[in-house]
């Protein structure tokens, strides 16, 4: 490591750094800029830590107008911009280059307006995901997407990656929970896309923006839906003798017309590590564990969990444990939510993120074990079974170059497997630099050209978060040319 190629920094831009700094200071004031090397080093990477580059400078705007001035400056001076929220991307989505400016919206973190009657909240983009829910919870509301990093990650980053969470089987992902955004284009133009009402006017530009990984513009405000919180929620744990039994149990639950709020799957390796770490009360003698959560009134929860237990009984479960109350529920979830941290304590790991159709789960798990064995590595699997999002954690020793190389190779093979099985390269972490070159395994040259042309509409000279999402070779003309060029379908 590292193997992922990044374009050569533009020496001309780096040479002009002193002049550029003076120009930007004159436009937005010196106090928004971070210039010293130690300060800039804090922004050299995100949660995909194998790759690091200290950016030319970092700017922390406080208003949409600041962002507009900064982008206009970048546009006029032909400088690349890396938009950044909290830097929790697991795929290098916020990785800078040495000739780029990091524009971090973390100081823009206010709640602007909450409307409980029409059920929306308007927030600045640097607010953390959890903070939105914390603000509206006293009135019995919440913001639905709940990625594992919700304590730290910003709504800006959630919009960029179309983040999900454990509960998206019922509530959907970011794109289902946002009504509108205020966004700044690379030339400094401020646009309002969508609004506060359910239906949008004209083309669905909001859909194009959400999940675009900072390719189209910098979001400064978002209007999100807030939903009334369920009366209660409670999970059921079911331990199985085989992944097949767990997979067919999930299928049977859905076939019975029950859509739980979450269905989480853990394999034996993940169960063992999480139990050792969190003492969640997981059974240790099973090959697969399902955590199925339902919501509603106490009476409804009892009925639903009873029906699910009945369905599970037909799939030869080893253990069925119904949570008896809030304390046990919290413990069950604590184990699952601590999974990444728990595994991180025993080993370095690469957290993969692909999707597969549910029916392919047993086959996918077998193949993943084979792939990792072939690379002489161990793997633990966590799976959002309800929505097909698989997270194999490939364990390796980061100080051993050979292991690190093998882990990357195994990861790539697993993602290609997901695509082969009818799934996608990413469920919720995004493409970033990590999966950029793999895009060609999921999409044809035409599919990619269709996407890249939209990038060109919003960012004609490809200054926003360049060299990400799309295969490097396919974007070279657009990134290098000062004039707008149109992506061709090879």
């Amino acid at each position: 490591m590292p193997h992922i190629e990044l374009p050569e920094p533009d020496a001309g831009v780096i040479r002009r750094r002193p002049v550029l700094i003076e120009d930007l200071k004159a436009r937005v004031g010196a106090d928004l800029l971070i210039l010293d090397e130690d300060g800039r080093r804090a922004y050299e990477t995100d949660a995909f830590t194998a790759y690091r580059n200290v950016p030319m400078l970092v700017v922390l705007p406080r208003t949409t107008e600041d962002v507009s001035k900064i982008l206009k400056f970048c546009h006029e001076n032909d400088v690349k911009v890396i938009p950044r929220g909290a830097g929790t991307s697991l795929c290098g989505g916020a990785l800078p280059t040495e000739d780029a400016i990091v524009l971090c919206v973390s100081k823009m973190n206010r709640v602007i307006e909450v409307d409980y009657v029409n059920r929306f909240a308007r927030v600045e983009a640097g607010i953390t995901n959890l903070e939105i829910t914390s603000r509206v919870a006293p009135k019995g509301f919440f913001y639905a997407p709940d990625p594992s990093s919700q304590l730290a990650c910003t709504i800006a980053g959630n919009l960029a990656m179309n983040s999900g969470g454990a509960h998206c089987l019922k509530y959907g992902v970011t794109t289902h929970n946002v009504l509108g955004v205020k966004m700044v284009l690379i030339d400094g133009t401020i646009v309002d896309i969508g609004g506060t009402s359910l239906e949008r006017n004209g083309y669905d530009l909001l859909s194009l923006m959400i999940g675009s990984e900072g390719q189209l513009g910098v979001v400064t405000e978002a209007t999100v839906k807030i939903l009334p919180s369920a009366e209660g929620a409670r999970p059921l744990m079911i331990g199985f003798r085989s992944p097949e039994a767990a997979g067919s149990c999930v299928a049977a639950i859905i076939a019975a017309g029950i859509i739980p709020v979450a269905i989480e799957y853990m394999d034996r390796a993940a169960i063992e590590v999480c139990e050792a770490f969190a003492g969640a009360g997981y059974p240790l003698d099973v090959e697969a564990l399902l955590i199925v959560e339902v919501e509603g009134s106490e009476n409804e929860i009892g009925v639903l969990l009873g029906r699910i237990a009945e369905i599970a009984a037909a799939h030869d479960p080893k253990t069925v444990v119904m949570s008896s109350g809030p304390e046990q529920s919290a413990r069950i979830w604590a184990g699952r939510k601590a999974a990444f941290g728990a595994i991180g304590r025993i080993s370095d790991y690469l957290c993969m993120d692909g999707t597969i159709p549910l029916a392919q789960l047993p086959h996918a798990l077998t193949r993943i074990s084979q792939i990792c064995a072939e690379h002489d590595l161990k793997v633990a699997n966590i799976f959002h079974a309800g929505d097909g999002n698989l997270h194999p954690l490939i364990l390796y020793d980061a100080n051993d170059d050979s292991q690190a190389d093998r882990a990357e190779a195994a990861g790539e093979a697993i993602l290609k497997l997901c695509v082969e099985l009818g799934g996608c390269l990413t469920g919720e972490h995004g493409v970033g630099i990590e999966k950029r070159e793999l895009m060609a395994s999921q999409f044809s040259a035409t599919d990619l050209a269709v996407q890249m042309r939209i990038k060109t509409v919003f960012d004609p000279t490809w200054r926003l978060n360049p060299a990400k999402v799309f295969p490097l070779a396919a974007t070279e003309t657009m990134r290098s040319g000062r004039a707008a060029s149109t992506p061709e379908a090879a």
């Binding site: 009657v117 029409n118 009402s197 006017n201 669905d204 959400i210 999930v250 409804e300």
Partner: protein, 392 residues
């Protein structure tokens, strides 16, 4: 075929089975391309609640296939045919996603767009492309599939769509409150939507549109009707009903409709039978905030006779006004724009739809992006030219 037409720079009008023939603007075209022959469900996995179908597959075929397995399209597609003087039952699944017209259950289950997972389509360059997939999370790359929804075939011709389906509820019921004035009724709807009872339909019909209801219990009631639908499993429904009644106690005592009555009542909204076709009237569809809805209708009524039907907890207004040279566009749009929202002209004579803006005019910076997106997909402006905007 489009590649050939694109090479000849021939303008193409895209049609399905004709359900949308009288809605939107009239496209200027040299050739008509029908997707009616692109029929058939290509994938259905009930246990993964996912289906793929070719674009010309009639919605009723899809729904009967789903019903046989105890499932449904949760977003309740609206068939505009009967309300616009086009044939009923001619709605194709491609038409559903290209217009993104969703029914009453949208407030709980999301819109057609929200339930779309992937598409195959051909753009104005004649290129066949795909976007999204068949799993619930489809964030890889730009979300082109959802970006095509609501574009009325002006960006690409969808050939196949993949979408989420949902289990049919075990049971359902409706509470009907009568005699509430619009503002109080909307208050009842927003109060309902703030409860965790998962109400799956929240509509209000003022006296004028309520008089057109056909459901036996509500027919001839001669006052406004405010309707709330609960759909859930049998063991839960009574409990939820009691909680809902308690939350809405101040609005009076509701009439209760059982599962069968509920089914027939809400089917009326799927075809907009409360806004029936007539050449004497025009029909608008207004999206706004629930708290502004009654005010907007009140403002428009100062200028003309208007009959309203509020859906989506007050967030959507269907508004019938007398036919006029501009279908009342100037007054309707003014009343909406000062209060926030946008208005789309659904039913009017073709010459009216050709002369007024059918879709709400765009702000300049959005129009610039809209033109950019159009030309990225269809640089020569061959697909459904003028279907949404006169100059696009």
């Amino acid at each position: 075929m489009i590649a050939k037409l694109a090479a000849q720079k021939r303008r193409v009008e895209i049609v399905g089975h004709g359900a949308l023939r009288n809605a939107g603007r009239v496209a200027r075209s040299d050739v008509v391309l029908s997707t009616a022959g692109l029929k058939g469900v290509t994938l259905y996995e009930p246990t993964e609640i996912v289906m793929s179908a070719r674009a010309g597959t009639p919605v009723y075929e899809i729904e009967s296939l789903l019903a046989a397995r105890g499932q449904m399209l949760a977003f309740e597609p609206i068939d505009l045919g009967p309300a616009t003087g086009a044939p009923g039952g001619a709605l194709s699944i491609g038409g559903v996603f290209s217009t993104n017209f969703s029914g009453s259950r949208r407030i709980l289950a999301g819109s057609a767009r929200d339930n779309l997972l992937g598409v195959r389509a051909v753009n104005g360059r004649g290129e066949l492309f795909k976007s999204g997939g068949r799993v619930m999370k489809n964030v890889t790359g730009l979300d082109i599939a959802r970006g095509l929804t609501g574009s009325w075939g002006t960006l690409a011709v969808m050939t196949e769509v993949t979408f989420k389906v949902a289990p049919l509820p075990q049971t359902m019921l409706t509470l009907a409150y009568t005699g509430l004035p619009d503002d109080l009724a909307i208050e009842a709807l927003t109060t309902t939507m703030a409860t965790p009872l998962e109400v799956s339909g929240a509509v209000h019909l003022p006296k004028g549109s309520a008089a057109r209801l056909r459901q036996a219990k509500l027919k001839g009631i001669d006052q406004s009707v405010t309707l709330l639908r609960l759909e859930t499993f049998s063991a839960a429904i009574e409990g939820r009903k009691e909680k809902l009644k308690a939350a809405l106690k101040v609005y009076g005592k509701p009439i209760e409709l059982d599962a069968e009555e509920t089914w027939s009542l809400w089917s009326e909204f799927r075809t907009l039978s409360v806004m029936p076709f007539s050449t004497e009237t025009s029909l608008w569809r207004i999206s706004t905030l629930p708290t502004k809805a009654a005010e907007i209708v009140f403002a428009i009524e100062k200028f003309m006779d208007a009959t309203a039907f509020y859906d989506w907890g007050g967030g959507l207004i269907w508004l019938e006004v007398p036919a006029a040279a501009d279908a009342g566009a100037a007054d309707v749009r003014r009343a909406v724009s000062v209060r926030g929202g946008h208005a789309t002209l659904i039913r009017a004579q073709p010459e009216v739809r050709a002369s007024v803006d059918v879709f709400e005019p765009l702000k300049p910076e959005i129009e610039r992006l809209t033109r950019g997106v159009k030309s990225a997909f269809d640089p020569d402006g061959l697909l459904n030219r003028g279907r949404m905007y006169a100059n696009l």
